[in-house]
Symmetry: C2
Subunit: 313 residues, 2 copies
Amino acid sequence: MAERDFIAARLAPLATSAAARCLADDAAVWAPPLGRDLVLTHDVLACGVHYLPDDPPADVAWKLLAVNLSDLAAMGAVPAGVLLGLALSTAEDDAWRADFTTGLGRALARWNVALWGGDTTSGISAAVLGLTAIGHVPPGAALARSGAHVGDDVWVSGSIGDAGLGLAIARGEAPADKFLLNRFRRPEPRLALGLALRGIATAAMDVSDGVLIDADRLARASGVALEITLSQLPLSPAAAARTPADDAGRLARATAGDDYELLFTAPPGAEVAGLAGGLPLTRIGRVIPGLGVRALGGNGADVTPKRLGWEHI
Amino acid sequence: MAERDFIAARLAPLATSAAARCLADDAAVWAPPLGRDLVLTHDVLACGVHYLPDDPPADVAWKLLAVNLSDLAAMGAVPAGVLLGLALSTAEDDAWRADFTTGLGRALARWNVALWGGDTTSGISAAVLGLTAIGHVPPGAALARSGAHVGDDVWVSGSIGDAGLGLAIARGEAPADKFLLNRFRRPEPRLALGLALRGIATAAMDVSDGVLIDADRLARASGVALEITLSQLPLSPAAAARTPADDAGRLARATAGDDYELLFTAPPGAEVAGLAGGLPLTRIGRVIPGLGVRALGGNGADVTPKRLGWEHI
């Protein structure tokens, strides 16, 4: 299928908003909500780097949207629309493209996000998928990594380490588990929590490369240290069953990426518990003087590892 | 150089706007000008598809920005900021990255555009470079492909076919010529012309795949036919010297891409001539009943070729 036909048959039916102009113009035109700040992010998923060649195309589409919406969630933004940049190889044949766009349509509908436009190109050696997501917040209300204060509590949503175990399953290196695999392939952007954290969290970000390395980044952006108590890290039952009950076991979970939970700081006593509906929020540490992250082991000792998480090299 | 260091050393110094937040957060935050429509586009350049592996990195950066700004120009928008999606291979070594970012900085400054954020990833087999450009127009003022009326004149800016000849030079298939090579590697988005066309052009788009194929697209979006008189196509002196003075020669120029001139329609008698400062504007045809494009040869006969231009397959 030629690019023109792919766009007409598969992408144009998803681009139903007026802003997309039926994908017929050089660009999209969108009237943003008056008096709001816009929040803009662009993340890339590369085949063989961020996902596996045999991951289901619908899951790849879901993840491409989810990781970008997760950035908006971390800033407390309401998503509005996206632009897509698809660079495809011969491996992404008509069947792959059909499944990808079907999955994309479901993911867009799931989060009420419009497809505004983008670009598709073929003849690449391995697929590179880019997505720009744009959302909005009230003026000055965007969350940032830089506001953590000494004395704040450190919180994380959901459970930690599931996606790293899911990746091992996807690679055939660990026994199957549907929940864990799904956590790797279909992360949930914590959009409702991000909104609820506006005015409450002093700093926030999403956990994409591992809770320790991301805590280190938040700490450095804020000019403080984050002390994380490993025994307090929330593990799902499925992850707990695969995690030795010692510091090394906990560190394996704390240094794995792709969870897309929100990590945030809030003053002690902040009304955090009920913010996220049914999503658990867990206090995992505190903000202390210093710079960077410190992991506390079972005996209260500093067991911070040299490798904090997924480092892009 | 690790990604983190590349971002800190090369990209962060270019991200000087407040919206970019020093590239320290999950997303950019931008307060758009009140009461304007936003114009949003995303184009991808893939190494080996849209540019050659030995093209100078500074020229690749220029072109990546220019092709996106050309989309904004075609809509009559003022550019504001961009997000970058760089998927790089080992071929893009530290020297390449340094030259690329230096060139990007110059191109951003040339068009007064802010770098807001984006994503960088390594370990790709061949580079794929994406860029999202965002600009703005007064409400309802964005140009479109769909407004051409029977009786309108068809105009094009600058000269046609230079970039196709430049590509042949870059491939070593034609004798060197600095002007033509530059037209391929460093296209000029016609931003000032796009602004001036608001309220005057009935339809507009940029010429990225060849003037005939793009005229066909504009015609179909408008539900009309565009009749292009080949002898009226503006050729640069350098292109004219390489173009046989017959229909076949003209058709070679009219079916080559990458010129990034503006193609537009305007009512007869519209005050078009002086709109673009020193940039020539040439009337190349007229809008007639029908659907699609028709190329008129030297003797007034229909010489429309089967292949209209660069088709993405």
